[in-house]
């Protein structure tokens, strides 16, 4: 599992984007965690590093498609997805990578009650 701070700047753009998406999603209120799945296949790996819960794939034209697999709190899903996308867009713009990121796909893998989430 990697955060943007743990991914070196020399890492591939795909991996850096995945780490950015992961950090942005986790910082969004209503997102409890990200989920790499039982087999741990929902992740992006490169150069010995891996970012769990985000699948980042290259698209034609030099852009990247990020799918974020999250565990949500008991909140409305539509606003949650919009908030995740907005946060990702904002962070990507700050990092100067917004032009390389295609619209983010949001997949709700699980729902956890707030009490359970805070444990």
């Amino acid at each position: 599992m990697s955060s943007p701070a743990q991914v070196p700047t020399s890492a591939s753009l795909r991996l850096r984007l995945a780490a950015l998406v992961r950090a942005a999603a986790l910082a969004t209120p209503g997102v409890v965690d990200l989920d790499a799945g039982r087999m741990g296949i929902r992740m992006t790996a490169s150069e010995g590093l891996r970012v769990d819960g985000v699948v980042c794939a290259a698209l034609p034209g030099g852009r990247y498609q990020a799918s974020v697999h999250l565990v949500a709190a008991m909140v409305a899903l539509h606003p949650l997805a919009d908030a995740v996308r907005a946060r990702v867009q904002r962070d990507a713009a700050i990092a100067g990578m917004a032009a390389r990121l295609a619209p983010v796909e949001v997949a709700v893998e699980d729902v956890r009650a707030p009490v359970e989430a805070s444990l």
Binding site: S67, A72, M74, A76, L77, H78, A81, R85, A102, P103, V104, E105, V106, A107, V108, E109, D110, V111, A113
Partner: protein, 186 residues
Amino acid sequence: MILLLRGLLRLLGFLTLIALALLGLGVALAALLGDRLGVRLEGSEVSRWLERLEGNGTQTLEAVIGGGMVLLGLALLIGALAPLRKRRAVLEQGEHGTLDARRRALTQLFTALAERTRGVTRAKAKLRLGRRPRHGRLVLRAERARTTESTAVREAVRSEVGALADAFGLKIRVRAPLGRRGRRVQ
């Protein structure tokens, strides 16, 4: 069901390949070394069976086996061609990206929404997603207190989960039986 048929298809496909390989080997050996191995169709069990079939027309056993094979073939075709039931419900899909949710997550959401409805003591959601996107059926069992009306609880639950169910294109069915004694009202 379709998952089972797909599994059956894979198993039978594997076994058929082995059987075909062995049959091919047998035919090749019979063709090459038939005389030396003593393989002769005339007077054999197979020859007698074919003669009996030609002579008396269709036999019951053979008809049953043939019919069974036809049914098996149809089942395998369905297993190979029918789309699998979706495991994810799609909320939105467009130029802004996709939002989908796993069935289990949605079931938990619907259960929680139903349980917070006034008069409901316990709720259980069952979600069945269709083979096409934005098609499915949500069955909610919301146990109610004795002091409440079934119709009122059904309507309340329906209005509580309606918006989310509509967003996923789900048809809702709500049942509101009396809850067991001792369960608390929300």
